[in-house]
Symmetry: C2
């Protein structure tokens, strides 16, 4: 059965983005530092450098996920509808290289990007998005890419099988929290991968 | 040099106590569950059962710490002053078995408890408490026992050398947060110990 996961980077104090998010700075103040661990891996840089445990994690994200689900804000900001010319924050070659199902209230034709990412716009709710993503993922995982609210919705609805937190060793102080309004999910730590830059904890969600 | 540490259990969403703390329920709703991992170790139970990685952690806490520092609330609740007969939340045989320096505004003679715990009341600030605790700790560590506000004060002041978070796999939703108003401490994960019940991450504080 296709597993529904979420791999998401949080600060030690639980934020996925810093304060004062804006179109110019969608991750907020300090938010880029969260992802330092990832962009510094040789896998991400494709520079053939030495591998660390963080590379295994990046392999899993890049290779193990067959389809993504994303909140509207993470795709393109604001509630939408978006201009037809706006293809989202992720640029001309989005790092997903797979179908991405965007939760929105505004229907739109799929947008095919270079590099294998196709954005599909889903207007009939999180369960529909999940069914469509599962159908598209083949034998790979479906991942809730973010943002925080999308992850919260899936957690609350009991639709997440696994949650992997990449805990970056920084405090952001304020911003967008990941684990808010999620009720009392039963979590079981089933894997921990550690490096000097980040701690990866995978929870099975009961 | 005596190391200043803090070993503290937090929920995945960052709380050290649940909502609605009261004299009857000082850890708040759900707060007791945080410490399940510890009370279930054979070291804590002294039942000679099988050891897990969590026992190593308990060994470190019970054996490696020569003196504790504690906020007034964690000792006895409220701002004080306390009745002379009130020897705090921790009962007749407190689990510290070492000198405990209590941060308070109200002077009081030391209180010697059975089992090796002596409460010393420090009215001239966190640095004084730390000096006194270091002098008392010998070649062992000083630990900030809690609560959250005491830990925050030491973190903000740059007086903490290491922070070990025992991350319990529960969400409390609300309550007392650990990492609030701590500025931007430089944290470096230097050790991770994992078990099916809890994830222990030790950060060097820069």
């Amino acid at each position: 059965m296709t597993k529904t996961t979420c791999h998401i980077t949080v600060s030690v104090d639980g934020f996925v983005a810093g304060p004062n998010q804006s179109p110019e700075n969608p991750l907020g103040e300090g938010g880029e530092d969260l992802h330092q661990w990832m962009v510094e891996t040789s896998t991400w840089r494709k520079d053939g450098g030495e591998r660390t445990p963080d590379d295994d994690m990046v392999d899993e994200i890049l290779g193990g996920i067959g389809a993504f689900i994303m909140g509207r804000n993470m795709f393109g900001g604001g509630p939408g509808p978006w201009e037809e010319s706006w293809t989202g924050w992720w640029g001309e070659d989005p790092p997903y290289h797979a179908p991405v199902f965007v939760l929105t209230h505004y229907p739109r034709e799929p947008v095919k990007m270079p590099g294998g990412t196709t954005y599909h716009f889903v207007t009939d709710g999180i369960e529909s998005a999940l069914s469509q993503a599962k159908a598209a993922a083949g034998d790979k995982m479906v991942a809730i890419a973010g943002g925080a609210q999308a992850v919260q919705q899936y957690l609350r609805a009991g639709l997440l099988d696994e949650l992997t937190l990449h805990i970056s060793p920084i405090c952001l102080g304020s911003g967008e929290r990941l684990l808010e309004n999620v009720g009392n999910p039963v979590l079981e730590p089933i894997r921990v991968i550690a490096s000097p830059k980040v701690t990866h904890v995978t929870y099975r969600v009961g």
